[in-house]
């Protein structure tokens, strides 16, 4: 026990003495939260629209003013021809173009069903879909306001009034969704990546051999390596949570103790994977590549950007062994919905099983290699 304590002291000293480690541990989360949360948004805040009006009637002007009136649209001046409109989309100066044909007002009033064209740059498919939706909304508003058909008395159509209710995040703040996700990544980087790098460094430098010939037992050495990162990971989670609360006002509805309890088990899993990686790799460069590869796959599959439920079946099956998937679920449930112990029991079982698995695997591999 005393040996482990000395080792712990040495590891902590090493971390705190290292001029780059410390900023990495404390500055990275702030930078990540600030940039990621602000940058990672699928919202559309501005649509540059080029309008070509071949009609110049009061009706076409009224349609244009409906677009001008929306805060979402910025009207880009273009020369009045279809070619120029397409060109301006090609040059990225506008996102979409609206082409109003000549005789638009005349044909509309005579029931000749003219057609207006909406061209959208759809390289970013998701954004194009949204722009289409917004534009159609404005056009149907225009129809309601300017061209509504008067109904005969007593024939007023029945309607269904749809009332949307957004629970747990009534203002639909994207940051409330992203901050917990980024915290998961942070904790994973510390637990998995830093641990592996740290261990392989000893191997690469040859200091691992030196320790092997000292009276320090192997399990003491490993514990001495893992415990500091376990603690740093938990501290990092608390620190990130504090920043998230301070800057983004993310709600903390549930029990923090529950969250940290889950994170503690999760970190055991991550440490196991880190240990495994370090036993497999021979150089820091290798570890970095392996960790990078696994992290990308696991992070993207975990549902950090898009809901895991709408992924194809094989991806959902894969997610059963994806620890990030469970942590992503639990941290959002606890922080935003205030989920209690009984809501997350299945996830606790799953992550414990994974932790057990990864540690066993790491120990087997570690014994074999040395």
């Amino acid at each position: 026990m005393r040996t482990i304590l000395f080792l712990l002291q040495k590891e902590f000293l090493q971390v705190f003495r290292n001029k780059t480690m410390l900023p990495i541990i404390f500055v990275v989360p702030i930078v990540q939260l600030l940039i990621l949360v602000n940058a990672a948004t699928f919202e559309i805040k501005n649509v540059n629209l080029a309008i070509v009006d071949h009609d110049h009637s009061s009706l076409s002007r009224s349609l244009i003013s409906h677009f001008e009136g929306s805060p979402l649209y910025t009207i880009v001046p273009v020369e009045q021809s279809m070619e120029h409109a397409v060109e301006s989309i090609n040059a990225n100066s506008s996102d979409a173009a609206l082409i109003i044909p000549s005789k638009f007002e005349f044909d509309t009033q005579n029931g000749d069903n003219p057609s207006i064209q909406l061209l959208i740059n759809s390289i970013n498919g998701a954004a194009a879909g949204l722009i289409n939706g917004y534009s159609m909304g404005i056009i149907s508003n225009f129809i309601m306001n300017e061209l509504s058909i008067s109904h005969p008395v007593g024939m007023k159509p029945s309607t269904i009034n749809v009332v949307p209710r957004y629970w747990f995040n009534p203002e639909l703040k994207y940051s409330h969704f992203m901050v917990p996700g980024i915290l998961v990544i942070l904790v994973t980087i510390i637990g998995m990546f830093l641990t592996a790098i740290n261990l392989v460094r000893e191997k690469e430098m040859g200091t691992m051999e030196q320790i092997n010939v000292t009276p320090i037992k192997k399990y003491q050495f490993i514990l001495g390596k893992l415990i500091p990162f376990w603690i740093i990971g938990l501290v990092e989670l608390g620190f990130g949570l504090f920043i998230g609360w301070l800057i983004f006002r993310i709600p903390i509805e549930g029990n923090l103790l529950l969250l940290f309890g889950f994170a503690a088990i999760y970190l055991l899993m991550a440490l196991g994977v880190g240990l495994f990686l370090s036993a497999t790799a021979t150089s820091q460069q290798q570890v970095m590549f392996m960790a990078f590869f696994f992290m990308i796959v696991f992070i993207l599959m975990s549902g950090i950007f898009t809901p895991a439920e709408s992924m194809p079946q094989w991806a959902q099956t894969f997610n059963k062994i994806n620890p990030l998937y469970y942590f992503m679920k639990v941290i959002r449930m606890v922080l935003l919905k205030g989920a209690g112990l009984k809501d997350i029991v299945p996830y606790i079982f799953a992550i414990s099983a994974l932790a057990l698995g990864s540690i066993t695997l790491a120990i087997v591999k570690f014994k074999k290699t040395i």
């Binding site: 090609n90 003219p114 129809i143 309607t159 995040n169 990078f292 709408s310």
Partner: protein
């Protein structure tokens, strides 16, 4: 002289090719990433589990529920019998939305002319929540105009929507150029900076410096193999995008490859700059991670549109090299435009490379002096 350099470059090649694990990953990452972006990362709404709270229970509400659940968007996972049961159901995460129909639905619809429905969504995922609400509202409105009397209004004109460049709104169109930028950055900038830092850390750099090889030759020999690797990789990505995802290459292939080559040079010069500044592999790694990977993923317009970001980040994105590369790629590949619309991006990439090379030469001399 020349053969000395050739030998050195050969040694570096061997170094890389002997490390099969890294090699597998270098070629595995783009393939896996493209497959993931192509198939996994979708904002599509399909078979979402919903709860149904229907205290009305009349023929009209039943018909509406059938219409909603047969749309392919929603699956009725849970029948909720009391208002109190809504909250725990959403909290447990089993369902994403509750469709709550008001009592006496049919009667209100036909007699009073207006009935109401609440769509309660789990807004912890805000985009999904608003998509779900939009989809369900559209179906409900259509239902109302089908069932209502005298609501056969015709739209007085038609709107023809044309999606330019990407008719089926495929997400891959966004991700292939981004993945290329990411991979090229990873291989060239990150690998070179780490491998040079490694020589420094292990002390072998000093050995190399006292050898008859000139410092320029050492650096060139180091980066040479990575140029080949990066170029091979970008061709694989293009082929994969073309064959598996039907991504078109509408513009000139030569221009496209030239832009790739420019970006590889840019990334290399960045990698060299990093390696002249840092002392250990760990720092080189973190430096590349934070200064290269994150901005490449986040601020280059790879996943998230730059136009939606706050102004400060938009300004910041101007100095992110991949931003210009991705913009040029999209213009050439997807829009099929020529040099007239990409010369600006190419010029920016060239001047950035020159700048990085000049700074690293200065740093390198300082260190020697």
């Amino acid at each position: 002289m020349k053969s000395r350099f050739a030998h050195f470059a050969k040694k570096e090649f061997l170094h890389i090719f002997r490390d099969t694990r890294t090699l597998i990953i270098i070629f595995g990452i783009p393939i896996v990433q493209l497959l993931m972006f192509g198939y996994v990362i979708t904002n599509e709404i399909k078979d979402v589990k919903v709860g149904i709270y229907d205290p009305a229970g009349d023929y009209l509400s039943q018909e509406l529920i059938t219409k909603l659940t047969s749309s392919g968007y929603f699956i009725p996972e849970l029948i909720i019998t009391s208002e109190k049961a809504i909250e725990p159901a959403l909290k447990s995460g089993r369902i994403k939305m509750v469709i709550s129909i008001s009592p006496q639905f049919a009667q209100k619809f036909y007699k009073d002319g207006v009935a109401s429905i609440q769509l309660i969504t789990d807004a912890t995922e805000p985009n999904t929540a608003s998509l779900l609400t939009n989809y369900a509202s559209a179906i409900i409105n259509e239902f109302a105009s089908d069932k209502g009397i005298g609501s056969q209004s015709t739209i007085p004109f038609e709107v023809r929507v044309r999606m330019l460049f990407n008719q089926d709104l495929k997400a891959v169109f966004m991700f292939v150029p981004g993945t290329m930028a990411l991979i090229l950055m990873l291989i060239t900038a990150m690998m070179t900076s780490i491998s040079i830092a490694r020589e420094k850390e292990l002390g072998t750099m000093e050995v190399l410096l006292v050898s008859p090889l000139k410092p320029v030759q050492i650096i060139l020999g180091k980066v040479f193999p990575y140029i080949g690797l990066a170029f091979a990789n970008s061709i694989i990505i293009l082929l994969l995008g073309y064959t598996v995802f039907g991504l078109p290459i509408r513009g000139s292939l030569i221009l496209l490859l030239a832009v790739c080559f420019l970006f590889i040079l840019l990334a290399l010069s960045l990698g060299i700059l990093i390696s002249t500044v840092v002392k250990t592999q760990q720092i080189a790694m973190f430096f590349s991670m934070i200064a290269l990977m994150l901005p490449t993923i986040l601020l280059s317009g790879f996943v998230f549109p730059i136009e939606s970001m706050p102004k400060v980040l938009q300004w910041f994105s101007v100095i992110i090299p991949p931003r210009w590369f991705i913009a040029a790629l999209k213009t050439i590949m997807l829009k099929g435009e020529g040099i007239a619309l990409v010369w600006k991006e190419m010029l920016i990439m060239i001047s950035m490379s020159l700048f990085f090379i000049l700074v690293s030469i200065k740093k390198f001399k300082e260190r020697l002096g």
